[in-house]
Amino acid sequence: MDIKSALPKKDASLTMAHMWVAFISLLIGGLMGLLQTFVRTGKITLPFGIDYYQILTVHGVILALVLTTFFIIGFQFALMSKTVGMSDGQRKWGWIAFWIMLLGTTATAIMILLGKASVLYTFYAPLAAHPIFYFGLTFVVVGSWVACFVNFHQLFKWKKQNPREKSPLLAFMVVINMAIWFIATLGVAATVLIQFIPWSLGLVDEINILVSRTLFWYFGHPLVYFWLLPAYMAWYGIIPKIIGGKIFSDGLARLAFILFLLFSIPVGFHHQLLEPGIDPFWKYIQVVLTFAVAIPSLLTAFSMFAVFESAGRAKGERSLFGWFKALPWKDVRFLAPMIGMIAFIPAGAGGLVNASNQLNLVVHNTIWVTGHFHLTLATTVILTFFGISYWLIPVLTGRKLDAKTNRLGIMQTIVWSLGMFIMSGSMHIAGLLGAPRRSSFSEYNGSEQAVEWIGYQYAQAIGGSILFIGILLMMYTFFYMTFSAPKGIEEFPIAEEELNADTTPTIFENWRLWIGIAVVLIAFAYTIPFIDIIQNSPPGAPPFQWPIGNS
């Protein structure tokens, strides 16, 4: 297949539908974020009796769950179509997945907007939302499962047709990411279907809180790798092409993804370090496993900088750091993901702090955590997604990435980085001073500490406003790329290996082996503590609707 031809038109439409949902989500979710930072200055109150926690729920659900899931699944369909192809049947199921997810999203959104589901995106029991909220979430997950199986089938079929070849790197990565997603969502599906739905419908009286939280966080941490790995796909498999280099090591890239499959799931307790009911020994075990997830990120950091250096050296740079200047800083397809990558250095370090057995006491549920995931998700991941969009949208719409798109993109990247630096930075500092996350404006009875926090909340409003300008710029660019950029065929940049590259060990494609080890690790980290949790369980909790204004 000619690597420069754009995607088949029908496949492009499927991905583009996902992009529309993702970008509309960005606009709505971003607006909610802006309003939140305003409310937290204490100077502005929301009109029409809209509650702070209602917009906080919209912000979390629509950005963390809808934007990400739709962008990722759409992007992954494009990668699969490009590398292993998509049959008519697979495309049909891809559309079924899309409509199921959209239906679920709409149902959930309506309940939140009606104020019947102000439970934030973590929906912790025993706060009880309207049952339709939980049904909506179920549809989103079930739709994504259909997409999982489409991707699995695509690779399976390709392997059958090409029995002796190793699978294309990006297709391999997509399948790993969907395997993580599928295994992880089993947890959230279990709690929603077995616990939340019957309980919110009044079919059962009580819910076991700790079981629901444990199942939620079994899903909740792998979720962040589901966001991160598509960014890694772009870094490993696309950026080398953009900078005129080659993939550093195909084998190493696959190894990193396999390590994510193994270590991303058995780690949920590090979100529950300050909870009662879980034995501290098992908390520590999962802290150790959490730290293991840093290893594939270290591998990735090395590979990426090796690619940058060798690409620069290939252009004749000789001095120790001369290659750094030789990188295409003026190409937004490189600049945006690169800034994302750089942000991941402090972001990852902050993550280790959060996951540490005792350091967690200092930052748990403070706004430090919010600052942390605005660096990881909202900077590293989203800037990479933006960087992808600048070439992917033109590919999908049959247009060119022109100088204007590039200029807008560079402006957007700078605005976004600046806004995030101010907002996330002030969140980190305020968090260390003890300011809580997920809280509306409060002076806490005139406490001196709260006065200090409010200063940083002003900084967050400034950062938030800059970010919203970034979103408007991004929306404009999205419309420009979709409707007005010059027509033509834009390159779908897929990197290649060196001609004399080492062969990749075939063991990396032994799916049974890796999924088997993943299951064993999960069983090791969860079986005994889970039995403990059930055997040592207190009476369950009835639903509470009034605290969220849903009664």
Partner: protein, 168 residues
């Protein structure tokens, strides 16, 4: 698969630092006993008063022996119950002499709440059905704000109290 020499060095340093960090955390947890709040005691969330520590008269500050205190609290949306003072008014400020060792012991009657004494290491989750505890030594005088740091409903940010650490 070939691993570059520099890559081996990089992974050795990176992996080694992670391991060193984990050993420090492990020694702190298992040899020095600084475990995260993990009280495994259960309680009936609809009848917390049945438990000795959470009877109305036992809420708030309890002096154990010299420089050692227990503070019992029952959280509910949107209030921390530390009992009442001599005048029958709800206690919203707890005074503790500097250098005291304080065990905060809490539970909740309804939904999940946070318990964070900002500026100290007292931070834990209060979940229906469980008692949770956290122990700190308050070495610095000052007034510390107690905040609920887990979303518990629309009045969540009004849940507060304070602890004053005074010099004798």
């Amino acid at each position: 698969m070939h691993l570059h020499k520099y890559e081996k060095i990089w992974m050795f340093i990176g992996g080694g630092s992670l391991l060193a960090f984990l050993i420090v955390l492990g020694v702190g947890a298992f040899l020095q006993g600084t475990q995260p709040p993990s009280c495994l005691t259960t309680i009936d969330p609809t009848n917390v008063e049945a438990h000795e520590s959470f009877k109305q008269e036992n809420l708030g500050l309890q002096e154990m022996d010299d420089k050692s205190y227990v503070v019992n609290v029952v959280a509910s949306a949107f209030n921390y119950d530390f009992g009442t003072d001599e005048d029958g008014a709800p206690v919203k400020n707890i005074r503790i002499p500097v250098g005291s060792k304080v065990l905060f012991q809490g539970t909740t009657k309804d939904v999940i709440h946070g318990f964070e004494l900002a500026g100290t290491n007292a931070n834990m989750m209060l979940e229906p059905g469980y008692i949770n505890t956290v122990e700190v030594t308050l070495d610095n005088p000052g007034t510390y704000t107690l905040v609920c740091n887990e979303y518990c409903g629309t009045g969540h940010h009004f849940m507060t109290a304070s602890v004053e650490v005074y010099e004798e």
